[in-house]
Amino acid sequence: MTTVKPKVDVVIVGMGWTGAIMAKQMTDAGLTVVALERGADRDTQPDFAYPKVADELEGSVHRKFLQSLSQETVTIRHNPADVAVPYRQMGSFKPGTGVGGAGTHWSGCHFRALPEDLKLRSTVEKRYGRRFVPDGMTIADFPVTYEELEPHFDHFEYVCGTSGKAGVINGVIQEGGNPFEGSRNRDYALPPNPNYLGAEQFYTGARNMGWHPYPIPASNASRPYVNPYGCQMGPCNFCGFCSDYGCINYSKASPNICIIPVLRQRKGFELRANAHVQKINLDAAGKRATGVTYLDAQGREIEQPADLVLLCAFSLYNVHLMLLSGIGTAYDPNTGLGTVGRNYSYQNLNRVTLFFDKSVQANAFIGNGGAGTTMDDLNGNQLDAAKSGFVGGGIIWARQPGAGPVRGISVPRGTPNWGTKWKQAITDSFRHSFYFEVQGACMSYRQNYLSLDPTYRDGFGRPLLRMTFDWNENEIKASQFLVSKAQEMSRTLNPLSMVGDAKKSGSHYDVTQYQSTHTCGGAIMGADPTSSALNRYLQSWDVSNVFAIGANAFPQNNGYNPTGMVGALAYWSAKAIRENYLKNPGPLA
């Protein structure tokens, strides 16, 4: 028997970054909000407290801070003709669970999108001609501009204590920042973090190449900080337990430290942890959501009626819930019809590791997830796609989130995996190597999409989400191009040796290797209801009181980490809800 709770104005599904942002904005507007989080409630104390966090076996093997796949996962296949199999062990991407979501175990890299990347298709077509975009590539312009998002990028950076150096303020180029970025209204909330050796060496290498290095904008506070909500952050101490770990120091921005402390004190806000939403309920006509149904910690079915349903789960699970609930039409790659599931994209990541002798103190155990050095000389408009031969650029960076031996120690090519030679190699390498990575854009394609799996079920009996994804020639070319540039730069630093390979022609997506958690698309925003699931305010075209906030909205992915863009889109959507939707509930576009 289903228990029906009293109706509220807004029900939020998921309490990560977007859920926290929307809860803050909706309660600011005086609405009553219930947030349902499938995982446990978590906070710095006790969940991320020292010394427990400094435990690689728990963090990187038992994956204590990530989602367990036992009850919920996805199935994956390379193309629509294959049978998908489950993502059984965590590898390629790492969704979170619990209050704070992936916003607790992210690294902190906090970019804005480039203005031209938000107009990708029109930019490419204008510069290279319509025929330059390969057949089957389904890239699109975002239906929102950089200028429209600028105040929201800015606000989210100030909420997160983002530490960096502006490159362009009000159209004026600033020394030390990214000269190719979109113009911003003011500098970052905090100055950049100090450089570890690899980040410092990146400056040298990039200048050797004639590039324009700048500090990665990092939501890892470089100074004590109080954000606009009155939430406090402490300076990052480079503890080295960052990516995949909760922060011990109130330094890495998270919903838990930057927003939720305010929400917890609000009367109009209720957070229910261990509340696993099973579906969004629609009225008889399927045009209006009446609320959601969830299972509580005891497995009891509870219905939460609400006027407004905000999907703020991890991008993949937002799409899953829309497909399960019949919001919009499932995409069919054969006909190209349907909107939910289309344009799934990812991130094109490869690494180059540089080994030095014992006089070089790289100290890989010293780490800060977001900080480091990067460059945009091969990204956005700087990349001449006619010459490089692919669409979408990328960045090269030095990052050092903190290494430890359980997480793995890179060794020079030809080293055995065990025995005395391996021991010698890890001992020589551990403190005397660092790495650069290329982070390339990933375009969307007709055949890369999300759907419901016909065979596999989750722990609640629902079909698993099925991911159909593989690398296309465009991304393989991009990987080869960017890795060759990274290697060229690395050689100017005279390492003893280097390892690292680009994707080989014909190679397939490998789900066993961590690449990034930047799973994008599947419920994209667009200007046309026949080719997008959401309008420019992230509102469902089909059910106007449902909004799906997250990287699911990206028509394709650019060369940056998505969180800055995801936060800005959440504030953009919240503004539209507050200023327009609430006055006149219904389609905003």
Partner: protein
């Protein structure tokens, strides 16, 4: 973290029991099943080797021998057996993790390309258990009835190399898969915090210069001209 708290109450005595293992021949250690006097008064008890609770005596013998081959004691640093890695494995196999707590374990179990990861139905602890049995079966057939542990070190190494390459034909499991998980666990035990039974005295951390759970390097981020000076510290607060 209750698992960790439990460990901290028992591990001092376990650590002492284990310290003797490296001093006595492996074969003798395998046969011994001495009473565990336990408790906090064990300081005066005779030092006895760790008693496996998950692995059978035959499995334990294999684990000890494999640990010794994969991470031998040498001039570079301590070996896996010195550091208690077999104990780590035995204890780790008893955790929910090794029973598949964070893996999706539902069928059907289809064959798929290696890019999709392990698709079988065995959790980690059974992968090791089944793999060890397969290795011994293979050895008995190929080496005149001898088990893995009865072979010379060089022969054991060749077998592990063959398993790594996937060229041993096992019946119930891929030898490559078994080896990959075995090596992963041996490395985990060698490098994880001593609270979990391996890495005794932070031996592996000292070897590579890892400061362990220190987790505060604000004063050393920009130091370039000298090696990081502090020794490791573990979760229990012990300094190496």
């Amino acid at each position: 973290m209750s698992e960790l708290e439990d460990d901290s109450s028992t591990s001092p005595s376990r650590r002492r029991f284990f310290q003797s293992l490296s001093l006595i021949p492996v074969a003798a250690a395998l046969g011994s099943c001495g009473e565990h006097s336990g408790g906090r008064t064990a300081a005066t008890a005779a030092e006895k080797p760790y008693e496996p609770a998950f692995f059978t005596p035959d499995e334990w013998a294999f684990v000890v021998a494999a640990c010794d081959r994969l991470i031998p004691a040498d001039e570079v640093g301590p070996g896996a057996v010195d550091l208690g890695v077999p104990e780590f494995l035995d204890r780790h196999m008893q955790t929910p993790y090794a029973s598949g707590a964070i893996w999706y374990m539902q069928g059907p179990f289809l064959e798929a390309a290696p890019e999709f990861g392990y698709q079988g139905r065995l959790p980690l602890r059974e992968i090791l258990r089944v793999g060890i049995a397969e290795m011994d079966t293979h050895c008995r057939k190929a080496f005149d009835g001898k088990a893995f542990v009865q072979l010379a070190g060089a022969e054991q190494e060749s077998l592990l190399e063959a398993a790594q390459a996937g060229s041993l034909q096992f019946e119930a499991i891929s030898s490559k898969l078994f080896f990959a998980y075995l090596l992963g666990e041996v490395r985990n035990g060698y490098f994880a915090d001593p609270a979990y039974g391996g890495n005794k005295g932070m031996g592996s951390w000292k070897m590579i210069g890892y400061p362990g759970a220190r987790a505060d390097y604000m004063d050393w981020v920009t130091v370039r001209d000298k090696p990081y000076p502090l020794p490791p510290v573990d979760l229990a607060g012990k300094r190496g």
